[in-house]
């Protein structure tokens, strides 16, 4: 081995490490299907065999809209999303057994943990708006994905705008 070469400039070591580990690795956690992760903002297609259409599954229902968008660095509910929040609030008041999770998201820039806080603040915005409209808080959980689960990849303005978002997810869907 030529030591002069080794320690002049940049040394790059390529390490081929087998993933087979001698130490125990916990069993993989339950895999999430793509549909349950990506389908949170979309109502499932209506089942035409049913005579009574579940409004949660009706693509033409106002409840089919499940995403609330926010301005850059903001967590205030914009006027254009107040009808959406009102529609879901009405449904939840009529279906006291139904629970939802409001998932807050952020764009991709900055501290992961601080972004988790920002996403939480956005999720809490919708939760509090629903409580003001009379929804029982026990039906609601506000959580954050921060910048960890972007719907749009990258740092473009369009991607960032898409990721500054809450998703409303009905339990059991």
């Amino acid at each position: 081995m030529n030591l002069k070469q080794l320690f002049i400039g940049t040394a790059t070591v390529t390490l081929l490490a087998a993933c087979a580990s001698t130490k125990p690795v916990p069993a993989p956690v339950a895999p999430t299907t793509a549909s349950s992760a990506a389908g949170t903002s979309q109502a499932a297609a209506a089942d035409s065999s049913k005579t009574v259409l579940d409004p949660l599954k009706d693509p033409n229902s106002p409840l089919a809209k499940r995403s609330v968008y926010f301005d850059f660095d903001k967590s205030e509910l914009k006027d254009e999303f107040k009808p959406l929040v009102a529609s879901h609030s009405d449904y939840l008041k009529q279906h006291g057994e139904q629970k939802i999770v409001i998932q807050g998201n952020t764009d991709a820039v900055g501290s992961r943990e601080y972004n988790l806080g920002l996403g939480q603040r956005r999720a809490e915005t919708v939760k509090k708006a629903m409580e003001v409209l009379g929804v029982n808080g026990k039906q609601l959980e506000a959580v954050s994905f921060g910048k960890e689960k972007p719907r749009a990849e990258g740092n473009s303005d369009a991607a960032n705008a898409e990721n500054r978002r809450d998703d409303i997810v009905y339990q059991g869907q």
């Binding site: 081995m1 030529n2 030591l3 002069k4 070469q5 080794l6 320690f7 002049i8 400039g9 940049t10 040394a11 790059t12 070591v13 390529t14 390490l15 081929l16 490490a17 087998a18 993933c19 087979a20 580990s21 130490k23 125990p24 690795v25 916990p26 993989p28 956690v29 339950a30 895999p31 999430t32 999770v101 998932q103 820039v109 900055g110 501290s111 992961r112 943990e113 601080y114 988790l116 806080g117 920002l118 939480q120 603040r121 809490e124 939760k127 509090k128 959980e141 506000a142 959580v143 954050s144 994905f145 921060g146 960890e148 689960k149």
Partner: protein, 430 residues
Amino acid sequence: MLKLQTLVKGLMTLALVLGVVSGARAEMNVEFSVDGSAGRYAIAIVPFKDEAALPTAPTPVVRTDLALSGEFRMVDGSSVANVPFDPTQIDYAKWQAAGAQAIAVGKVVAGAGGQSTISFRLMDVGRKKELTSGQFTVPQERVREVGHTIADMIYQAILGQPGIFNTRIAYVLKQGRSYQLQVANVDGSNLQTILRSREPIMSPAWSPNGRFLAYVSFETHKPVVWVQDLATGSRRAVANFKGSNSAPAWSPDGKRLAVVLTTSGNSQIYLVPAAGGSPRRLTYSDGIDTEPVWAPDGGTLLFVSDRSGGPQVYSVDTEGGTPRRLTWQGSYNVSPRISPDGKSFTYIRKNGGEFRVVIQDIAGGEGRVLSTGYNERPSFAPNGRMVLYASVVGGKSVLYAATQDGGSKVKLAVINGDVQDPAWGPFNNP
């Protein structure tokens, strides 16, 4: 096992293949490189007598370790007409002419039952005096560990401070939608996957005894704080309350965790017993309080809060009280970590489009920039002499370990994935 590739434009690539289990299906390419100025202290590590018979020779491990510390410059011994294995064989004049301030020599003696005895002596070239020495009898699979220990002893003998070559780092490897929480030695060896998930994993935090990792996993479709025993793999949720649970940080005595909960309707810092129990709220603000980290004395926490507008670093007594703001430059200062001596802290400061790694005295001052560009989550080496952080280069997240002056940087990258959210572990390596 060591394959030397060609020198191209002053860049040198060394392909070191280790830990390859025959028949292993999964292979991961880790790129590990030392970049930057030559270290201050010139040292020669002569290949030990009969080390070539071992599957892993110890001196390449020692050289790589000392080089990655950024403190040492390796003296090229190939042109010195003296190959000593013992101090009596050292031609000091020749090594002095080659620029060496110290020289390490040693030998390997094969013993019974696959054991090998490795001995070395470190000599001061100018004074011809021994600086340190050691002898280790180990099975062959532990020779790498001995190499790290020898590097630690040389580091200690010359710099008067403990080396970090047997310490570990934790980080999250992201490959598409697949996440792996991994632990590796600082030189990239002994890589273990602690947890695999299809959902995000973030914020690994080492327990002070090096036995447990706390982390945030989204496997239940929300952030929950888990603590996992690295030796057994057993784990449990320590913060799984309604809302989001995140940002775990261990107290120096390992008995408590600071975590962020949202049960009050915003992100606030709570203390929970590591053994399980009720959380006690520590911070009270209308804003986001997050990223807690304990000072070494256990009496103070640093954390991030946007109570005054943008996120800034504050300190607060662990018994409560009014937090004191520590960062005043810029509108976005996040991800603090305190140095092992408790005197300074590193954090990320937004400056225009850059997210810089800064080191600043707790007592005050401007702070100095360690890394420009886009960086995340710095943490100190347990001896305080390097900082580990994630850096996005060419759209890819890699790790850097940099000396405090930024003069030398070691890169850890994975060819087909992002390495993110690093945490440098403690001296304790059970």
